[in-house]
Each structure stands twice: as C-alpha cells, then as structure tokens.
Symmetry: C2
Subunit: 283 residues, 2 copies
C-alpha cells in the first residue's frame, strides 16, 4: 500500500471542528496506530484533545477517488505549537517522526510528505533564518527515509493571521510565506498549496473544518500536477463537495454501525440489524 507522512504544527494536525463537515469514511484509507493500520477516522493526528479536521483526509480522499482500487495510509506526526527550531534533525519531533515513518515503511511506500508550519515563527524576524531551517528539516527527512525524490507539499500560512485571537502574534506570516515559496522553489519535487481565501475558527489561528477540506484538496492538486497551486480551482467548491458524496460500501456501513453501538447509541438488536442490512444491501 501507499502512505503519506503528515508533519508540521497544529494546522497540519487539524483543529477544524469535527461536526462542521461531513465525515470521510473510506475503506481504502487507513491511519497508522500502534505500528499497524486502522480504518481512517478523524481526528487522525491526535496530538491534543482539541485535535480535529486537518488537510490530510481530504487529500487522501481525493487521491483515493483517482486511484479507486488502491490503499492509502496516513502517518500522523504533526505537533501543535511547534516552531521550526523544534523540528531540527536532533530534536525529538523530527526524530520521532522519522521513527514512525520508518516503521510505516515496513508495510507501505511513502508517496508524499505533507507539511504545514510557520505560525510559531511569524514574529520577531524569525523569517530571516526560516529558509535554512526548513530546508535542513525537509532534506534530513528525505535522507533518513531514503526517499530523496519524494514529493513534498507545503501549505501557505493563511491570510487571516495577525488579526485576532491566538493569531494576533503571527504578524510576519507574509514573510514566512515568502520563505516557504523560496524553499519550495529551490528544493526538487517540492510544491506549494495556496491558502488564499481560507477562513479560521473563532480563535483566529486555526483553519476551520470547511477550509481544511479545501486546503487538503489543494495539497492534492499540487501533488497530482507536480506544480505549485497558486490560485484555487474554479470548480473547487464542487470538487470538494464530491469528496464526501459517495455512497458508503457495506464495510463502511458496518464500521459506522459498530461505532454508533460502541458509543451507546441504540440496542444490540439495532446494531445487529444495521450490521446485517449493511452486508445484504450493497447498493
């Protein structure tokens, strides 16, 4: 099977509210848990109890729709609140991400690295050293994983930073975005996904769930076209809506029935009926 590695800070982990978008349930998508693969369910990257919707599930769903008979696994290693200085080759975040990714490589081929980071560096002229640091991090990651040419998709920081709430301190996001573009232009097989027009949670720093679906789709576009995505697709809203409009398969309906019962919804008889109906009615 194929896999993708998720690295960066909170907007890669995901903080979009789970109830604000339709779930993505796809039996061909999985996530790395305790050294094995489990059916993907959000939040995928549970770095904090406030973890929610990030860009990777929409990326994965778009990939799956384009590769309907293949399996894709997500390797979650993003860490909320982390600065680029904490992602150095000797730091625990990158060392741990490499350890997880190498374990996942025993059973999968990593086809892309999804990166989003920089809010914690958008102040005090940190952008001046950001390109060297980011380049060192990504180069070390590729070397350690023995994937010198694996595509890396880097998301821009969103427009709304520096204006309100937890985002107030991120006043140099434009300079960090310039640095991200500079790094991607210099690195082979590195592409940028625009964050233009995306909106935030009330906290002013985290992308809301609908925006994370759009952002993940843009990450996929950059991956698929092997080029920067500098403007959103004209049909973006329609294409993103199609990510969650497929009819669940029997296995997916069984998963959802099991989840509802485990959460205390309905009786065992209800569960058995739903489970059997899922098997018997593949339509």
């Amino acid at each position: 099977m194929k896999s993708i590695l998720m690295v960066g800070q909170s907007n890669m982990a995901g903080r979009g509210f789970l109830t604000a978008v339709p779930p993505i349930v796809n039996e061909n998508l999985s996530m790395f848990r305790n050294g094995r693969w489990q059916l993907m369910a959000e939040p995928v990257n549970f770095d904090r109890e406030v973890a929610g919707v990030g860009p990777a599930p929409a990326f994965a769903q778009a990939w799956s729709q384009a590769h309907p008979h293949e399996q894709l696994g997500l390797i979650p290693c993003a860490e909320g609140g982390s600065a680029i200085a904490e992602w150095g080759p000797d730091g625990p975040l990158l060392r741990h991400a490499i350890q997880e990714a190498q374990f996942a490589q025993e059973t999968s081929d990593i086809i892309a690295i999804l990166w989003h980071q920089g809010e914690n560096d958008s102040h005090d002229h940190l952008y001046r050293t950001y390109p060297q640091q980011l380049t060192a991090t990504l180069t070390h990651l590729r070397t350690a994983l023995k994937l010198p040419h694996v595509p890396i998709i880097l998301g821009e920081l969103p427009d709304f930073l520096g204006q309100q709430g937890f985002g107030l301190s991120a006043v140099e996001a434009p300079q960090i975005n310039a640095a991200i573009h500079q790094v991607a232009a210099a690195l082979p097989q590195a592409y940028v996904a625009t964050a233009t027009g995306l909106t935030s949670n009330p906290d002013g720093i985290h992308l809301d769930a609908p925006s994370q679906r759009r952002f993940g789709y843009r990450y996929y576009q950059a991956f698929q076209t092997q080029a920067d995505v500098t403007v959103p697709a004209a049909q973006e809203a329609t294409q993103v809506a199609q990510l969650t409009q497929s009819t669940p398969t029997p296995a997916e309906r069984q998963y959802l029935a099991s989840k509802r019962f485990a959460q205390g919804q309905g009786t065992f008889a209800d569960f058995i009926a739903a489970y059997q109906a899922a098997q018997e009615d593949p339509a």
Copy 2:
C-alpha cells in the same frame, strides 16, 4: 520525571464515555505525544475514534496525590481488539510499544507497566496457551526496556463478559482470569487488580467511565502495596471521588480557558479575562 507504560487492548486504551465522569486535569501529569510530553488530557490512548476513559489517568492521579511534587507521564500503547497472539515479541504492537517506551525512557524513568488484555482470547480454549504467551510478552518487554524488576500490574477481565452485546463471545473470561493470576503469581513484581463489581457500557464489553476510575485506583493500590488487590477497598467510592475534587491550580485553569476558546466557546476578550483571572487568583 517518572512514567508508566500502557499496554493491552481496548479496556486499557479506554472506552469509557468522557462526559460520564469529571475530568482529571493535573499539571504534574503528562502524556507522550510525538516524542515529547504534553499535559495529560483524556482520551490519552487514542487508538480509535471511540477512545475514551481508561484506567491509567485515575492511576496517575492517585500516584500524583501521593507524590505531590513529582511529575508522571503516561505512554499510551494499548490497541483495541488485539489478541495475545498479536502481542508476540516479533509483532508490530510489541515492537512499536518498545520503540515508544525506549524513546520515552530518554526523558523519564518507567516505574510501572499497566496491562489489560484478554477479551479477544476468551473463547475456543485459547486460555490453554495464554499463560505462556502472556509470560513471553511481559518478559520480553522488561528485557527490551532493561527493567527486569519494573512492577507490572495486570487487571482482571470484568464479570460482565459473556452476557450481552460485543461481550457475548467472551465466554471463557473466567478461564483467562485464572491464567492471568497464574502468570502474575509466577512472575516477580507482578500484581493483579480485581475487576469485581465493575460495570460496562451498553456494548457489554467495555468498562464504563466510572468503573475505569475505580479500576485505575485498584491498579494504583496494587502498585502501591506491591500485592494483588483481590477485593475493593471499603472506602473505594470515597477515595475515587477524591481523585477529582482538588481545586485547579492557575496553570490548570489557564489550560482549561485556552481549551474552551480553541473549541469556539466565548470571545477572545472572555478568554483573556479568564486567563488573567487564573493567574491573579491562585486560591
């Protein structure tokens, strides 16, 4: 700092409903995330989207109340639905747990291993080979972590198995319990915590949240007394209630204020006011 390792299947990961018990918020407790330590918040062991309350947080809180100036970290490696045959030395679950624990050992001293497993082996006479398998798993774990004498606390399987819902198939839970006692009696520094009287979620297999608080307290009693806990303490209800009755510290109130704002509750001005009030009023 000190740490504990959580291994086993879903009732160690935790499936108790988060809303059914008061939260444990303690600035001296943390959990392992991405190679670093973060303030503990439930669910600690996020193996599945239905993860919830397990026994480890109550264990940790009881330990913390007895060691008020020390830090304890939780290393979550339990995996829902796993059978003992999947916890062999060469399998991904144990290999991954060892990798995580070794990483955590760089910054902590593991003082206990908490184990709960066996529901998936409570059928078809699997109890016959269970003692050898469990002994091999635990011995390999101690050897790999270079902790030959670290206490291991094993919880019994609950009484309610074999009766309803997802628990229906676990008809040989009494035999697995006998095997667990046999293993603990033969291994040095291994102790059993009774599951007597604990109750389940509606699914008939997972311990409910109030029971997980009691179970975690029993795990702690076994750890603290270095002996099996075969009957619940006479004052168990009172002692368990005291786990969540302490007044939050300023740092804990700040964490809770940040969490509420990140979840979309209240304005930025509300958050700033709550955050400052937490600092200014340490009572």
